[in-house]
């Protein structure tokens, strides 16, 4: 029977191609996927992206090889129109498709949920009541850092260091950080690319994201939500340093910004702007 031979041939081509391509993608592409390994969140998201790419590979191959196959084998040229076979469907094939696609989707959902609940992959802002405040539960010493978005820059407050406010973000390596993201005016989004953290800065909202930087280096900080005309210029560079340098740096910053600090409002989870005026 020719029809089944065609399908068998297609199936073999696809299975062989997938068997070759999928491990190659998983092994060689995953290490170059974003966002990086500068922090636990970033490394976790890289694994997620790798898994999704590995799942997508056979799917892409299925459709592309199918299209190529039908266009080579079943293409009809010439002026005369020829009728094809009157096939209305195939219950078995449809059932296989429904079951397989449902199974893949359910597996992806299960995997995504597990990764989201697992500390060190979530990376997104979790709002004022985070899903998994794991570090505090583990009894680790957490460094709270407040990220304040305003048109058009981020500033950072360290409440455990006398409410110091500085335009630079410096984090110690290896210590869990609790980022409290908020805004003074419009919606911004704090995107620390290398850390694998993105959290919207909403006025009046304390949006919490956890991350543990895992190696010394720098990372890009950008605003990822349109916030007005200078949105494109709202970026800076954060630094991850060792514990000792961090202490020196923060003492230096406290000295520099001490005159400014007395005019700032006391540290608070949010700073509600006065509806009639400017926020402080």
């Amino acid at each position: 029977m020719r029809p089944s031979r065609d399908f068998g041939r297609f199936l073999v081509i696809w299975l062989v191609a997938s068997a070759i391509a999928t491990p190659l993608v998983a092994i060689f592409l995953t290490p170059s996927l974003p966002p990086g390994v500068e922090a636990d969140d970033a490394a976790g998201q890289r694994i997620d992206n790798g898994v999704l790419t590995a799942v997508a590979t056979p799917t892409v191959l299925l459709i592309v090889i199918f299209l190529a196959y039908v266009l080579i084998v079943f293409r009809h040229t010439g002026p005369k129109i020829e009728e094809g076979p009157r096939i209305h469907g195939h219950a078995g094939a449809q059932m296989v498709w429904i079951v397989t696609s449902t199974a893949i989707v359910m597996a992806l959902f299960g995997y995504g949920t597990w990764r989201l609940l697992e500390p060190g992959a979530a990376g997104g802002g979790q709002g004022p009541s985070p899903l998994s405040p794991v570090h505090a539960a583990r009894g680790e010493s957490v460094l709270p850092v407040q990220v304040i978005g305003q048109q058009w820059q981020f500033s950072y407050r360290y409440p455990t260091y006398g409410g110091l406010e500085t335009p630079h973000l410096v984090l110690p390596v290896g210590r869990p950080v609790e980022l409290h993201v908020t805004s003074l005016d419009v919606v911004h989004s704090f995107w620390a690319y290398g850390l694998g953290v993105k959290a919207d800065a909403n006025p009046g909202v304390d949006n919490v994201a956890y991350v543990t930087p895992s190696r010394v280096g720098t990372f890009d900080v950008r605003c990822a939500e349109l916030c007005g005309i200078w949105h494109g210029y709202m970026f800076d560079t954060g630094r991850i340093v060792d514990e000792q340098r961090f202490e020196t740096w923060i003492q230096e910053q406290r000295r520099i910004f001490a005159p400014v600090l007395q005019y700032l409002p006391p540290y608070s989870r949010t700073y509600l702007p006065d509806p009639q005026g400017r926020a402080g």
């Binding site: 799917t59 039908v70 129109i81 959290a199």
Partner: protein, 622 residues
């Protein structure tokens, strides 16, 4: 002379424009009386949003009254018999006025959508020009953001009607054997609202533009100057137009089907239109309400979205995406309908798995209302709910898969003819595959952290909208233009158009996935130098993409204006109902409704196990 007088006086476009101007001035004057310069904020900024908003409102009302939309309801209210104008059956004049013929409205929509698509596409070229190099090169940041906003809002506003406006309005009554649509005046109103909306949006250029993008997030939208009001008014009018369009099409499909055309025999394109129209009716009103709230925040000093005064910026995000996410499926479903309608014609096979395809479309329509918070994964709102929205979003890939498998099954063992419409359909399969799979990265909450708000998500939705909907839009133009105008587009130039567009499109947007993954956020006027090569590649490809669309435009003008070679009566040898009448059809569509058989009835029986059951041979117009 009398002909000229009849054209000039009465309810026509000229009267409409005059009344629109008068309405605008009246509204503006009224607004100045209501909130005059005595108010501090008006005095200090010199801008009175109340006056502008009322001006727009009365301007639009004047425009519609001038076109004659008030005649029927007013006469009814006064208890007089409505003096309906006799529908003009020929002449170019009927395309410039309120005409209740669904075929006229379809062509009006085609031109209207085309014009807005052209302007929005031009804006895309301007964006790529700016992003050609790092650093600010061509536009100032506020001009650049206005261009970005115009491109986004115009495309989003127009693409929702891009298939439903021209093709559903024109073809669906023919496909279901109806002589008119259910609500002809509402149908015409939905088109003229689109015209009013487009004009309103363009006035933003004279008012300083709007720097909020098409999403117009509060509280940013509360900050901006006059230009925001035109954006808000535009989108509210588009929402109204979409709602009316959806109401008419839903009612037409439900009530106007020919005898014996039961649900199991509905052509798949009609299913695509019906599901889209139903979702539109349910989702678009939310948009209108949201924008009215924004307008009230800006004019009447309410505080729906003002944090600290009882409002919340989350409220806006929720309302906007409650409309916004069903809306992006409004951009997918019509394309799927066209795809599955055209594949059987060019494979000479019945649609493979008709019921599976219908359940796929119904499934997408249903689940589309439950996914909106995946836009807010990193917003900090309801972190626990991320699991549910991850589930519902990934769930939607199951019915989408149904549509794919039906397309693949139809191709299998067909007699595939690579005509231009078929090429665009195959292009859809490839592009939507990429668009759909990259959507999985967005639905997975940890992965979405990188993609969200970056060029990755931008490339993703351009793959589904430009690569999906626009490709099937062109398939529909090549396929149905002989029906709508009686002239067929040049096949060879059509193929040049397809290949150039397909390659340039992929070459533009594939690198943008990488740009986003490497850390470039959307809507930025500048970027680090390490993204320069990929951005230049994308820009050059985008210009080639623009050229491919100009080739289409040249082909269109050549076919319709210069060559004017009449097309065959049924150039694709289709068996569906719209080809059983003349091209273009007479005002009443069919002299006699043709017999209704199974949809997509192609192919020959293999062996003898299944008797041939085709009702009437296609061909001779009845």
């Amino acid at each position: 002379m009398t002909v000229l007088a009849r054209r000039l006086f009465g309810f026509n476009l000229l009267t409409a424009i005059l009344l629109a101007a008068a309405g605008f001035l009246l509204g503006h004057w009224l607004g100045d009386r209501i909130a005059g310069p005595s108010l501090d904020y008006v005095a200090s900024t010199g801008e009175n949003d109340v006056a502008l908003a009322l001006g727009y409102l009365l301007g639009v009302v004047g425009f519609l009254v001038g076109l004659g939309f008030a005649n029927y309801p007013l006469m009814r209210m006064l208890g007089r018999p409505p003096s309906l104008p006799r529908p003009e059956t020929e002449g170019i004049g009927r395309y410039f006025r309120h005409c209740p013929d669904h075929k006229v409205v379809g062509l009006q929509y085609l031109v209207g959508v085309g014009v807005l698509f052209f302007i929005a596409g031009l804006n895309a070229m301007f964006i790529r020009l700016e992003l050609f190099g790092p650093g600010q090169s061509i536009w100032t940041p506020d001009t650049y953001l206005t261009i970005v906003g115009l491109h986004g809002s115009m495309m989003m506003g127009v693409m929702t009607s891009a298939v439903l406006g021209p093709f559903a309005n024109y073809i669906v009554p023919l496909l279901i054997g109806a002589r008119r649509s259910a609500f002809p005046r509402i149908e015409s109103l939905s088109f003229w609202l689109l015209v009013a909306a487009g004009f309103t949006l363009m006035t933003t250029l004279a008012l300083g533009g709007f720097q909020t993008g098409w999403t117009g997030y509060a509280p940013l939208s509360g900050q901006g100057a006059y230009g925001i009001d035109s954006y808000v008014m535009f989108f509210a009018l588009i929402g109204l137009s979409m709602t009316l369009l959806g109401i008419n099409l839903t009612a037409t499909v439900v009530t106007m089907r020919a005898p014996r055309l039961n649900w199991g025999r509905l052509p798949i394109f009609v299913w695509g239109v019906l599901t889209t129209a139903a979702v539109m009716v349910l989702a678009a009103p939310v948009l209108i309400v949201t924008l009215v709230m924004v307008l009230l925040d800006r004019t009447a000093q309410t505080s729906f979205f003002v944090q600290g005064a009882g409002g919340s910026s989350y409220l806006f995000e929720n309302l906007f995406w409650f409309f916004g996410h069903p809306e992006v499926y409004l951009l997918a479903l019509p394309g799927m309908g066209i795809l599955l309608q055209l594949l059987p014609v060019f494979t000479r096979k019945p649609l493979w798995g008709y019921r599976l395809a219908v359940s796929g479309m119904l499934g997408i329509a249903l689940v589309s209302f439950t996914v909106w918070q995946h836009h807010l994964f990193v917003s900090g709102m309801a972190a626990d709910l991320r699991i549910f929205y991850m589930f519902s979003t990934e769930l939607i890939s199951i019915p989408t898969g149904f549509v794919f498998v039906c397309a693949l099954g139809t191709l299998w063992r067909g007699r595939i003819r690579l005509t231009v419409p078929m090429l665009f359909c195959l292009g859809w399969i490839f592009n939507f595959l990429i668009g759909g799979l990259t959507g999985i990265y967005q639905s997975d909450a940890p992965s979405d952290v990188t993609g969200h708000g970056s060029f990755f998500v931008l490339a993703h939705f351009h793959y589904t909208i430009m690569g999906g909907l626009v490709f099937t839009f062109f398939a529909a133009i090549y396929y149905w233009l002989p029906k709508m105008t009686g002239f067929a587009l040049n096949e060879r130039w059509g193929k040049v158009h397809f290949w150039l567009m397909f390659l340039a499109f992929n070459s533009t947007f594939l690198p943008l996935f990488a740009v986003g993954f490497l850390g470039m956020p959307r809507r930025v006027v500048t970027y680090p130098e390490r993204f320069e090569f990929l951005n230049q590649w994308a820009s050059i490809s985008a210009f080639v993409l623009g050229v491919s669309l100009l080739i289409f435009l040249a082909n269109l003008v050549y076919t319709l204006v210069i060559a004017r070679v009449p097309a065959e009566a049924n150039p694709w040898q289709s068996t569906s109902l719209e080809w059983q009448t003349t091209s273009p059809p007479p005002a009443h569509n069919f002299d006699r409704i043709p017999p209704i058989g199974h949809p997509h009835d192609y192919g020959r029986d293999e062996g003898t196990e299944r008797p041939a059951s085709r009702p009437a041979p296609a061909g001779e117009p009845t």
